[in-house]
């Protein structure tokens, strides 16, 4: 039922296909890439796109196509894991906040509000400036930035679910709070969480690229799409292709998740139906 409605949404299908394409490319990177993405070859510097180098080469003679392909693995992994971090922490905080209410709710939600009061990229920049560039730190920074969004969503679902009769029944039959939270309440919160996760996943990829572009994200020489753009920026007039392809890859990844997320929202959340 759910799948059939999703398949009927053409844009969602397009998003899913694009996403699948990127995931396949990332997983099969060693086979898809035509060259070693790290191999320097000074003789082949700044070659424009050709049949031997699909996307041309950079200032060190590295094959850009292979670097973009490996970059897909970085973008998807960092994006996915940071959203997993945000989801896990956000869901836990949201469950506690919404179920126990009272002072703990006030404290948690005020802190979440304060985090939401920062412009996303600025807080991420601040965290990365303090922690230093690196993949683990990227996941912490992006995870922290997106945690409040999940916490708020889950909390508001919990607030309505906890008043339901079957929760009362579970409590009367002696179920523990943990059991009620994870077995009876959490499964009913998933729809908005999944929608939020899909769309945030896209943005996480965007922000990872932005941070790496500023030199605050992925450590060199890893071929993060953002770092590739930063390299391209230095030689805009000499080798503009170094800018075309990594940026297009970012746009494609974010687009696929936005299309898929919009489709999921239309199907899972009837309130948004137009």
């Amino acid at each position: 039922m759910f799948l059939r409605r999703l398949i009927r949404n053409k844009l969602a299908v397009l998003g899913a296909v694009l996403l699948l394409f990127l995931v396949t490319m990332a997983v099969l990177a060693p086979w898809v890439a035509t060259h070693n993405p790290f191999k320097l070859n000074i003789k082949e510097r700044f070659l424009p796109p050709s049949s031997s180098h699909f996307f041309g080469t950079d200032g060190y003679g590295r094959d850009l196509f292979s670097r973009v392909v490996y970059g897909a693995a970085i973008a998807l992994r960092v994006g996915f894991l940071s959203i997993i971090v945000a989801m896990t922490v956000g869901i836990l905080l949201g469950l506690i906040s919404g179920y126990y209410r009272g002072w703990i709710d006030t404290i948690i939600m005020r802190i979440m509000d304060a985090i939401l009061s920062f412009p996303i990229i600025l807080l991420a920049i601040g965290i990365m400036a303090v922690l230093g560039a690196g993949f683990a730190n990227l996941m912490i920074a992006l995870g922290a930035v997106y945690t409040p969004r999940f916490a708020r969503l889950v909390r508001s679902s919990v607030l309505s679910i906890r008043e339901k009769e079957y929760i009362e029944a579970a409590r009367v039959t002696g179920c523990s709070d943990v059991h009620i939270l994870f077995v009876h309440i959490l499964p009913n919160c998933w729809a908005p969480v999944i929608i939020q996760a899909t769309i945030s996943f896209g943005y996480a990829i965007l922000w990872e690229a932005a941070l790496s572009f500023l030199g605050l994200g992925a450590p060199p020489p890893s071929p993060s799409w953002g770092s590739l753009l930063a390299d391209g920026k230095e030689v805009l007039n000499r080798a503009p292709w170094l800018t075309y392809f990594p940026g297009a890859a970012i746009a494609l990844a974010v687009l696929s998740l936005n299309l898929f997320g919009d489709g999921l929202r239309d199907v899972l959340d009837p309130r948004f139906k137009e």
Partner: protein
Amino acid sequence: MKTYVIKRLLQVIPVLFLIAGIVFFLLRLIPGDPAAIYVGTNAEPGVVESIRREMGFDQPIYVQFLIWLSRMIRGDFGASIFYHLDVIQLILQRLPVTLTLGFLSMVFALLIAVPSGIMASVNQNTYKDYLFTLLAVLGISIPGFWLALMMVIFFSVKLGWFPATGYVSPFEHFLKGMHYLVLPCISQALLASAIIARMTRSTMLEVLRQEYMTTARGKGLPKLWVVGKHALKNAFAPTLTVIGFQLGNILGGAVITETIFSLPGIGQLIYTAIGQRDYPIVQGCILLTAFGFVIINLIVDLLYSYFDPRIVYEG
């Protein structure tokens, strides 16, 4: 209404307090001696010692926070390690650039977003609407900094229409200043305009379905009047919230835009300060930008009640 305004103003205080707490906590995560971080690793031992005593770094953490907070409240953000100037002075010097850029970007965004959002809602489920949906989702997906670089390649490097970097204040030379700001503003406005346009479309669709709209149309009022006067005013309140939120993202995005186009604003100040480990600047800029964002949202909330007086504010 009056009580709402007062309540909303009071609500801001704990948020500002917590924001300050987050920034304080963040800077304490930097490994190393906090006093040395505050005055730079090359500072004389005597200076480090005096700042340690002044900032209370030898006392419990909550005392440190209170000392730090009281300095921040007085506008004392410390001195830059690199420039040997007060941070607040550096920020005030550069603030006009960032504000001009932010304001013009938002004007750009609104000029694109509001008319196109209205156009799409009035022509729902036609090719115009589909084209709009496509462009909007592209606008959300394309990274602004990539668009910036692409525009530099085409409009600066290839065509030579606009300068690739640099800044002239539009308050001194209006046309020349605008010439320098066109590309930065467009790239910075992209995401905001797509998000605001989508919001405009969906709130307009909701309003257009209301009964009073049918009445207005039934009275034979001209279409433009119906849409402009009756629909837009009512659709504007929810859109306003998104605009406030996007203004904050534009302020944050300034770090990237100003770096690409070498604009001497707050964003560039943060970026170079991070590279130079000039943490007093990083701290001051982040704190002030976040405060600015809170104030913007406060103003938006107050305006919201003006645009949509039906809203009842409880407890």
